[in-house]
Amino acid sequence: MAEINPFYLGTFVVYLLIVLAIGLWGYTQTSDVMDFWAFGQEMGPWLATWSFVANFVSAVSVIGFIGAVYGEGYTLMTHTIFGLMLGTSALYFAVDRVRNLDLLTFPDIIASVTGYQVARPIAGTVLLGNGWLYLVMQLVGASLLVTTITGVPYEYMVWVIGIVFIAYTVLGGLISVAWTDFLQGTLMVGAVLLALGYMIFDLGGLTSINQQFASLNAANVHPTGQGAYTAIGIIATIVAFFGTIFTEQNNIVRIAATKNVRAAKIHLAAAGVILSVFYSALVILGGATTVALDSNGMAVQTQDAAFPALITNYVPSGVGVIIILAVMSAILSTTDTRLHSTGITTARDIYSYFRPDSSDDSQLKVSRVATIVFGITATAAAVNPPGTIIELYNFRAVLLTSAFLIPVYLGLYWVGLSGRAILASVVTGAILGVATEITGGLFGIPSTFIGVGAATLVLVVGHMLLGGSEPKGGAMAGD
């Protein structure tokens, strides 16, 4: 067992107490189900911006991305981050349509464009599975990191983090989540910039970092890792990540929570700028981490251990504490949002479909119970995560993008598009995308292309064949 670091542990405990206090305050501000689900649809542009940023940056972003740079160099910018940033900006251009629908969840939108209400529980179940897997992965990452840093055994740390984030999410719903996000987002961006500033000073400047990084391996500073990634592979990854921005339940819920279209547009515009700066800084920090560890003989066995090693073995404690708070913020802000999404998906997309006359109070209760149940089961799974969860998690981006991106968003713009063709397209994209991801592509074509391509083909052909039949989906906002 690692030695307990009282300084880091104390910081961690204070941090958890602060977010719990925000959760308790959120409880006093939550009077009905719309407050819990969508901040009463009163979220202003700046709170929405920081909430989006904080949710966007996860344990995968901070630990995984720095680890990826440690292992593969700056090519991460090309195949992953570029697609994410392009997706955020593209959603900005579609957000008025989405907000004007005045619907709460992604399954609501699917039901709206297809005309089939049964799409709500079906899509809701898919998104619920996706959200739960994401929760488990985040908790595993969070607990491993905090265990490494504080010395508290992993099995205890999982439950401590799990119970805290379940508690404040259940108490105040999106009100707690958004205000803790505001704190966490500010901390994250500030701390990463501070850490990068420290490393630039410590290693003799930005140019020096890049030169030393290149001297370790020239592929480190090459856009494709000197051929490690093919052009078609990079484009497929860009498309997959681009698509997830449009199809994540939490992004749609946040858009619904904004007070008007103006706030919705500003929050995506501003978040795009903040995130692109943040991720550029994070990738350079990954390069600096690699240089620092290598030049001091601190090479790590696994790439995900690179950033924790920098914190515990390289930077001074004062800087380390700030980075730890940033990492904890990255983890909790994403985890609470996904947990909140499981509550709203269960109550809004599944329960209310089968109980359309259920009261406001009963839906609030279902949301809270679902939040607790999914939170506890995810925490329990994170104590000893089965390998299948990690494998399933890899299908997430392919599944969401293949199934939903083309049919749902084309449905928003194409007046009179056949609802049956949209449904057929969703099912085809999902099946072919996941199946070819499992088999590792088809004839060398990446699974995302097959899923998205098949969904598009079925949509167009289906509309030509079924265009005269009811229901008519599509385009009811802004026309």
Partner: protein
Amino acid sequence: MTILGMPDAMFLVFVATLLAGSLGAMHYVVVHVLLGKPVNDLAADRAAEGGDSTKDRATDGGQIDGGN
């Protein structure tokens, strides 16, 4: 040829990513701030006309016209 210690192509990827993330902000500033074009806000129009909103429909099961 290098910029900030990295090859031109890598530097361009960083620039392209910053631009990709900033497209929305550039559009908002030019179109809605400098040119003063209003945002397409039907929800505000509906509210002004006293129409239904999601808030009013929170617990109606999300039913919409034309559904099954």
